[in-house]
């Protein structure tokens, strides 16, 4: 039973069909890669799944629930989180604040609770800060916890994206180029972390252009071209698929 299913999804902007009746599925506890030439519609598809766009047609299913048409916050609450290709760190907040913000179920998020249940709010804040600290440790950012997010380097901001996503306790994480622009050691560490988290039961669906990462780390690779899926399978098979090679050369 696939954890994520995209069925014949369409999305056009003006006259341009970004996603053209695309269908694919992601198996639970997998590390699935999504590749394809520029303009294939990969990021658009991620935005559609995450609820940031509404599809013009088709359906998106996440663990037995239909999620297309739901607002983004509801989809995150259900357990699907997406990171950004260009990091969207909250610049004026500290790294720790960025993380605690991402936590689900903080009683302090609701205005009335500030007055009706102040102690609950305080407890949640303490608990979630501890949780945030441990995730920061996992992503090797704990030294920067009280620094303004704007002061982080590019690679550190990418780590922050992943850390924030983990803070939402997701069943599946959509990673948009998680190691682009990150130095190889850090990238390797990040992918090791992902492998570790996968073993704990989470699913990872990632867009990547770095073929080494894709080949080494992904169980399955899905290839998109001009808004639809053109190939799918284990990395070695996909790599040799003439249709895939053609799409990259033809553009």
């Amino acid at each position: 039973m696939a954890i994520l299913e995209v069925q014949a999804v369409e999305k056009s902007f003006g006259g341009i069909r970004a996603v053209d009746r695309c269908s694919l599925s992601v198996e639970p506890q997998s590390i699935t890669g999504l590749i394809g030439p520029n303009g294939a519609g990969k990021s658009t598809l991620f935005n559609l799944i995450a609820g940031l766009y509404r599809p013009d047609g088709g359906e998106i299913w996440f663990a037995d629930r239909r999620i297309d048409g739901l607002p983004p916050y509801a989809i995150v609450q259900l357990g699907l989180t997406k990171t950004w290709q260009i990091p969207h760190e909250l610049k004026k907040l500290t790294v720790l604040e960025n993380l605690v913000l991402a936590a689900k179920g903080h009683h302090g998020d609701h205005f009335v609770n500030l007055f009706l249940h102040p102690f609950l709010v305080r407890e949640d804040e303490k608990r979630l800060r501890k949780q945030a600290q441990s995730i920061l440790a996992l992503t090797q950012l704990e030294a920067l916890a009280h620094d303004e997010a704007a002061s982080l380097s590019g690679g550190q901001k990418k780590l922050l994206e992943l850390a924030r996503a983990l803070m939402t306790d997701p069943a599946i994480v959509l990673l948009d180029e998680p190691v682009a622009g990150v130095n190889p050691t850090l990238a390797s560490g990040l992918m090791d972390l992902i492998e570790q988290l996968r073993k704990q039961g989470r699913t990872f669906f990632l867009i990547e252009h770095d073929m080494n990462v894709v080949m080494k780390r992904c169980d399955t690779v899905i290839v998109m071209h001009q808004g639809r899926k053109i190939a799918e399978g284990p990395p070695e098979t996909v790599r040799k698929d003439p249709v895939v090679i053609d799409s990259y050369l033809g553009g």
Binding site: K82, H88, E97, L101, A102, H110, F111, L114
Partner: protein, 322 residues
């Protein structure tokens, strides 16, 4: 001795009015400075609070009818309840109005929101003037009871009481905002102002948070309205024209620095100080022109500040996570 208390009473009145506008400006600062919602209808929420408080706290005032014709419309309510009740209901009704306005309009982009809120304020003002059996129409509402009645009347003591109450309210509002903005809820607001889409993608219902912020801001404006009627001691719908109750507030917040409540309070005292000085000067210059010149100065300030120093004279204070 009598002269001294006279001057002090005057200064106290100036401070009391400044406090009213400061509270109003803090409400707007929450909506605009902290949440990024541009409210061009501040006057409307101010009005709802003022009239609610007036209707609740004044004695009954039925219409004056002569030969079957209504000469003086009187006004509705007249429950003669204490000020605290009036102020509480003022906050509730203004906050509710703000929430109702917010639900359909907060998803609109900033200029549409400005037009919609401006329209709301104007319509509510015209309805208030029109529905005169309810609100006293252009006559307004008079005989607003003082907070403490002195027998024989003692303006100095009354003025001091008013100032004291006003200062307490201002302090309470300031602390309330400080508390809520440092809270987790306040953190969501800051995140929304920073990058709303990213905040949505982290699982926050940003629309709901914005509605709550707008409603809280509206409630604070309603409280300012209740304070206003006590300070002014009568209610005149003309006081709620946008040029008097919306645009000067923008100047106060821009002068003091958006998202900086301390600066906003200073801005309120400065801008209201201008009005106060102009009222004093009017007696010497013997012309109405000073009133209009003051508004022209406010207009010029708006233009100059928004071009050259939109972040205000005092910057936002940095927050440190302890």
């Amino acid at each position: 001795m009598a002269i001294d208390t006279g001057i002090l009473t005057n200064v106290a009145l100036f401070a009391s009015f400044s406090i009213v506008y400061a509270v109003l400006a803090i409400g707007f600062n929450l909506q605009w400075g902290y949440t990024g919602l541009f409210n061009a209808g501040i006057a409307g929420f101010f009005l709802i609070g003022a009239y609610t408080a007036a209707i609740i706290t004044t004695p009954p005032d039925p219409p004056t009818v002569l030969g079957g014709v209504v000469i003086v419309p009187g006004h509705w309510g007249g429950l003669s309840w204490p000020f605290v009740v009036g102020a509480s209901f003022a906050m509730i009704f203004s906050g509710l109005a703000a929430a109702l306005i917010a639900i359909p309009t907060l998803r609109l982009r900033a200029d549409y929101l400005a037009i919609a809120t401006l329209a709301f304020a104007e319509i509510i003002r015209r309805v208030t003037i029109n529905f005169d059996t309810f609100t006293g129409g252009t006559n307004g509402i008079t005989r607003i009871p003082r907070l403490i009645t002195y027998e024989p009347p003692d303006p100095f003591a009354g003025g001091m009481v008013l100032l004291g109450v006003g200062a307490l309210v201002l302090l309470a509002v300031f602390l309330l905002l400080h508390f809520t903005l440092e809270s987790p809820w306040g953190r969501v607001l800051r995140a929304i102002r920073e990058d709303e889409v990213a905040t949505m993608a982290l699982g926050k219902n940003t629309l709901l948070s914005k509605i709550q912020a707008f409603a809280l801001g509206g409630a604070i404006m309603g409280l300012a309205g209740a304070l206003f009627i006590e300070t002014k001691s009568y209610l005149d719908p003309q006081d709620f024209a946008p040029a008097l109750a919306t645009f000067p507030i923008w100047v106060m917040v821009i002068v003091g620095g958006a998202a900086n409540n301390r600066g906003v309070i200073i801005g309120a005292f400065l801008i209201y100080g201008m009005e106060y000085v102009s009222v004093l000067l009017k007696d010497y210059v013997a012309s109405n022109a000073i009133y209009y010149v003051r508004l022209m100065i406010i207009g010029a300030l708006l233009i100059i500040l928004i071009i050259y120093r939109p972040q205000g004279l005092l910057p936002e204070r940095r927050r440190v996570l302890k």
